[in-house]
């Protein structure tokens, strides 16, 4: 990796200032994505601002919402009894991210800031209509994701926590990429106060998206059968050496039905 300055501020304001003062500075959370990028010399930040000292870990219940702070690791989410009782689907999702090492280090904030098109969390955030709370504002999920690796975040804006409205029931079904174990297709299905929600990650050629046709079908009848004839346009799909667009489109249907059946 290239040389850089290393900062470990103790307050969010200081972290934001450090990022604002230097356009080439970057935040570091669990480092599961960022450090490999540095090691491969794919990024050349002048400074790295470590978020580990900001006290940004923890999970709490706030009325009808589950709030997870940005630096909470995937393992903490997977093991949390708070999460298990409020949104068990989220615990399952976190518990199946990557491998053990990744789950011990990787964070929800890092995952959402990165918005990898095959990351798992974006589908939960979008399907549940979560709110991304940052160092300066609250961003609705619908406004937050802006295509592959692109979000509404400003360069000096930090995610501090994520607030998930608790659904009636939900589930996440993931078809892992056989090599990376990221989602090749991941579908998060939820029955919420606003109706059925289906968000698809891993499959789309523009990142995470909501599946309107499936939502409509599930609003009619929240059963796997209701999705039997709902197709997914291949033109929306991403294709790579592991799965072409037709196969991905097919898997979206399979994973959605499995998620509906697993909803609790």
């Amino acid at each position: 990796m290239y040389d850089f300055e290393y900062h470990k501020p103790g307050a969010i304001d200081d972290a934001v200032k450090a990022l604002g003062a230097d356009a080439e500075a970057k935040a570091l959370a669990g480092g599961m994505t960022f450090i490999p990028v540095l090691k491969q010399r794919l990024a050349k930040p002048s400074a790295v601002v470590d978020l580990a000292g900001l006290g940004l870990t923890g999970i709490r219940r706030e009325g009808n919402a589950l709030v997870i702070k940005a630096m909470t690791t995937h393992r903490e989410v997977a093991m949390s009894s708070e999460v298990a009782s409020a949104i068990p689907a989220l615990a399952t999702l976190a518990g199946n991210i990557g491998d053990r090492q990744v789950r011990y280090r990787g964070t929800i904030g890092g995952s959402l800031a990165n918005n990898d098109p095959s990351a798992c969390y974006p589908s939960a955030v979008l399907a549940l209509g979560a709110t991304i709370v940052t160092s300066r504002r609250r961003i609705a999920a619908a406004d937050y994701f802006q295509g592959m690796f692109t979000t509404a975040l400003e360069p000096d804006e930090l995610i501090t926590e994520v607030s998930f409205p608790i659904p009636e029931k939900a589930a996440y079904a993931k078809f892992p990429n056989p090599a990376s174990r990221y989602a090749m297709v991941g579908v998060f299905v939820a029955k919420t106060a606003e109706g059925a929600r289906v968000a698809v990650t891993g499959a789309g050629n523009d990142g995470v998206f909501r599946h309107a046709a499936m939502e409509a079908a599930l609003d009619q009848s929240f059963t796997a059968d209701a999705l039997k004839d709902v197709t997914t346009p291949e033109s929306l799909m991403n294709g790579d050496i592991h799965a072409g667009t037709a196969y991905r489109a097919h898997l979206v249907g399979v994973m959605a039905r499995r998620a509906v059946m697993a909803c609790k």
Binding site: Y2, R41, P178, A179, S180, I241, H242, Y247, H250, V254
Partner: protein, 801 residues
């Protein structure tokens, strides 16, 4: 010496399973790998590599890079040419059908004139730190004019294709054949039916856990060069690099291969980086270290397999195989790696008889240059390719004939009383019992109960299949005269030096090398058993040309069959000498001395001397037959095998397919192998587990994919699917041994059988699971996408169809 046929297992001896001695240090982080070695004053090398698959090097401007902080030296292909340094050599020469030698283009240690694959080294930057070397490499100004590239063999052999080497017309390295074409044509003329198959043996990337590394060191006072390297065969590297590349005589070149974290073939070959750091260390008079990155390993470690084959099998009405015709294209990559030409030919086509009595066989192999990483031996080297082809073809033939898959195999097995069996493709098999391994494997896997399990799976909406492979391979390479006649440029004997110390402990110096196989344990057992000394008092040393007289290293499952045999020979000499000393001490005739269980005894008496007593006498020769016998107890033996060894067996795999996703789940895997004498059953099981896992990886997961411009698309572990624990099942391992008839141990070899026998068993099971979909073949890897496409393309045919 203990009788090898003695069924009594001595603690720590042959047949016992002591835990692996070496694992103490491996599991506690105390292994000493090449990258753990640091020499005083060491500088660091980084190789600037081509990111285009094919191009002309117009210019390289090193000025800015040379001025960067910490830079010690920068070398390009031009410097190498000026220094008169040769290319890395190929260790095997083949001749085409017309008698002409293979096209053998030079493989310079830094590219000269042209780059030929993504990863081809253009310049070596040496600096005080690796990061500084990388920084400077970014400042190199390199002008490369891209040329059209060929990455796939059909494209490379199409008319008008870009030429990787001007000397190789049509990108053909050689066009070789074996067998009797006329006899095969005659057999086909009488065939009742012909079974045909086209198979691709998928290209693989070995990925040993430890990436390669090399340190060059030079002692100005003695003029001695030392290379520390991640090699499976340090003496071979010393020979190839010393004699052919750098012209350093053996007495001035030491090659050390310390702990090596897996090789699987990829660490057999002499790589350019080894020569580059050795040479550069002498240029700058400082040690130079290079450590390969994981991403770099993907584009520089020799890849494996990559064959395309069309085969036809002529069958008689009773299912007997009459003739086999095979046509293969084998990818060599951009340059000939050390053993590349031998893999598709003498290590592959010579096994086309398999375990069957096919009387007429003809095989043709075209080796093709492409703009890809060089391809060479990878666990199994040639035998997995042939085994996959044959065992798939036999299943296709069974279907064609309407015969049972087991029955057609049994009808064609080489019967046990036909051994030794001369095949029509050069090899003479010494031993084997195919019925025994088949029957045992079928029993453990409950082959006959399968249809009930399939029906039960169908009720759960799953497609269940079972497949087998009955295979045989040739390893224990190799009789030097035979190998030489077939084109090997080296002998393939092995060397052991058994040093008995004054107090009776023993150090064995072996020319083989252990990089995961557990030799420190297995060989110690062998020595303990034969000399009757405790297992704990035997030390095994390998991997240093300064310590070990000579050796050819470890590959081709040769270490026990060839290296172990050399040890037996050396121990025979120790025992013979010990008898003379014992005879003197006990005032008996030498012929009356018997050696057993660590004791020299005067036959028919209770007079005896322990091994330790003889050892101390040999080193403190006060009362000693000094006129006839030299002091000391230290013997060296070279063992040249009389033939290849022929392990074989039966593998059975059972799978379930989820028709919604195309995912193949392994349900069971059983391997019953005939590997000859087993020294340590636990290690044998481990070798089979590892090999089968690699075979499952090849069958279901792994695939090195290039795009048409020669970029490697599966260039990291994020895209290249290595098998993991959850991709495999518990593997049932059994052995059903016949002994090798021509080496003193009766050992055949176990290092590769798992990877050789398993892929067709897996694919035969997958094809069987899809039997209602009218498929007769699926290329590896059988990914979910491929299987889903088959399922999606056609609803199941009715059974009546």
């Amino acid at each position: 010496m203990n009788d090898l046929s003695n069924p009594v297992i001595i603690k720590g001896g042959i047949g016992d399973s002591p835990k692996r001695t070496e694992d103490h240090r491996f599991l506690s982080g105390k292994g000493r790998y090449t990258d753990d070695i640091n020499r005083p004053g060491q500088a660091y090398a980084y190789f600037k590599r081509s990111d285009v698959a094919h191009g002309v090097i117009k210019s390289i401007d090193t000025a800015a890079a040379a001025a960067m902080p910490g830079v010690v030296a920068i070398y390009t292909g031009e410097d190498i040419a000026k220094a008169g340094i040769g290319g890395v050599p190929c260790g095997w020469q083949l001749h085409s059908k017309d008698g002409s030698p293979m096209v053998e283009p030079p493989h310079p240690i830094l590219a000269q004139g042209k780059v030929r694959y993504v990863g081809d080294a253009i310049a070596m930057v040496i600096a005080e730190t690796t990061e500084q070397a990388k920084d400077a490499a970014e400042a190199l100004v390199i002008d490369i004019e891209s040329l059209p590239a060929v990455s796939e063999m059909r494209a490379a052999t199409a008319p008008g294709a870009a030429l990787v080497h001007d000397a190789a017309a049509g990108n053909i390295c050689f066009d070789w054949h074996i067998g009797d074409k006329a006899a095969v044509d005659a057999a086909f003329a009488t065939a009742f039916k012909v079974a045909r198959i086209d198979v691709v043996n998928n290209r693989l990337i070995p990925n040993p856990m430890e990436p390669r590394a090399a340190i060059g060191d030079f002692d100005q006072s003695s003029g001695e060069h030392t290379l520390y390297t991640t090699s499976q065969n340090p003496h071979v590297i010393r020979l190839l690099m010393g004699a052919f590349v750098l012209q350093i005589p053996e007495h001035k070149l030491r090659v050390v291969a310390p702990d090596v974290g897996g090789g699987f073939g990829a660490k057999i070959f002499h790589y350019i980086e080894e020569a580059a750091v050795t040479w550069a260390a002498a240029q700058i008079n400082r040690p130079v270290k290079w450590t390969c990155g994981r991403g770099e390993a993907f584009i520089t470690d020799a890849h494996g397999r990559d064959h395309i084959t069309h085969a036809e099998l002529a069958l008689a009405e009773d299912g007997k195989f009459l003739g086999l015709r095979v046509n293969t294209m084998a990818n060599m990559g951009a340059y000939l790696s050390t053993f590349a030409p031998s893999v598709p030919t003498y290590l592959s086509a010579t096994l086309l008889a398999g375990v069957y009595t096919t009387p007429a066989i003809y095989g043709e192999v075209k080796a093709v240059f492409t703009n890809t990483v060089p391809v060479d031996a990878y666990r199994g080297a040639g035998r997995p390719e042939t085994t996959f082809l044959l065992e798939r073809l036999v299943d296709v033939a069974a279907k064609e004939m309407g015969m049972d898959r087991v029955a057609i195999r049994r009808r064609n097995f080489i019967p046990i009383d036909a051994y030794p069996y001369q095949t029509p493709v050069a090899l003479m098999y010494d031993s084997g019992n195919h019925e025994a391994t088949l029957a045992r494997c079928m029993e453990i896997a409950d082959w006959n109960g399968f249809e009930a399990r399939r029906a039960a799976a169908a009720k759960r909406g799953k497609l269940r299949g079972i497949g087998m492979s009955t295979y045989l391979e040739a390893c224990g390479i190799a009789p030097s005269a035979v190998a030489g006649a077939l084109g090997a440029r080296a002998g393939l004997y092995e060397v052991a030096n058994v040093r008995v110390h004054p107090t009776g402990s023993v150090t064995v110096f072996t020319g083989t090398h252990s990089h995961g196989q557990g030799h420190e344990t297995t060989f110690a057992q062998l020595v303990a058993d034969q000399l009757g000394v405790p297992f704990e008092s035997v030390e095994v040393v390998h991997g240093d040309t300064a310590k070990i007289p000579f050796g050819m290293g470890t590959y081709g499952s040769r270490s026990l069959a060839v290296g172990g045999s050399a040890m037996v020979k050396a121990m025979d000499k120790i025992i013979a000498k010990g008898k003379k000393i014992a005879a003197h001490l006990m005032e008996a005739a030498v012929d009356d001395i018997e050696f057993k269980d660590g004791k020299f005894t005067v036959a028919g008496t209770d007079k005896s001397k322990s091994f330790a007593e003889i050892a101390i006498t040999a080193y403190v020769p006060h009362n000693y037959p000094i006129e006839e016998v030299e002091p000391g107890l230290d013997e060296t033996a070279f063992y040249d095998p009389k033939n290849f060894t022929f392990p074989g067996g039966c593998h059975i795999c059972e799978v379930e397919i989820d028709p919604d996703t195309g995912v193949v789940q392994l349900i069971g895997f059983t391997a019953v192998d005939d590997i000859g004498r087993v020294i340590n059953p636990m290690i044998v099981h481990g070798q089979v587990h590892g090999g089968v896992t690699q075979g499952i990886g090849q069958a279901l997961l792994e695939h090195a994919i290039y795009d048409e411009t020669g970029q490697l698309l599966s260039g990291s572990l994020m895209d290249y699917t290595m098998p993991r624990a959850d991709n495999v099942v518990n593997i049932h391992v059994g052995t059903e041994s016949t002994l090798c008839t021509h080496n003193p141990l009766g050992a055949k070899g176990v290092g590769e059988v798992g990877a050789i026998g398993s892929p067709p068993a897996v694919i035969n099971a997958v094809v069987d699971a899809l039997r209602d979909y009218g498929v007769s073949h699926i290329d590896m890897p059988a990914t979910p996408q491929k299987i889903w496409s088959i399922i999606n393309a056609g609803a199941p045919r009715m059974a009546a169809e």
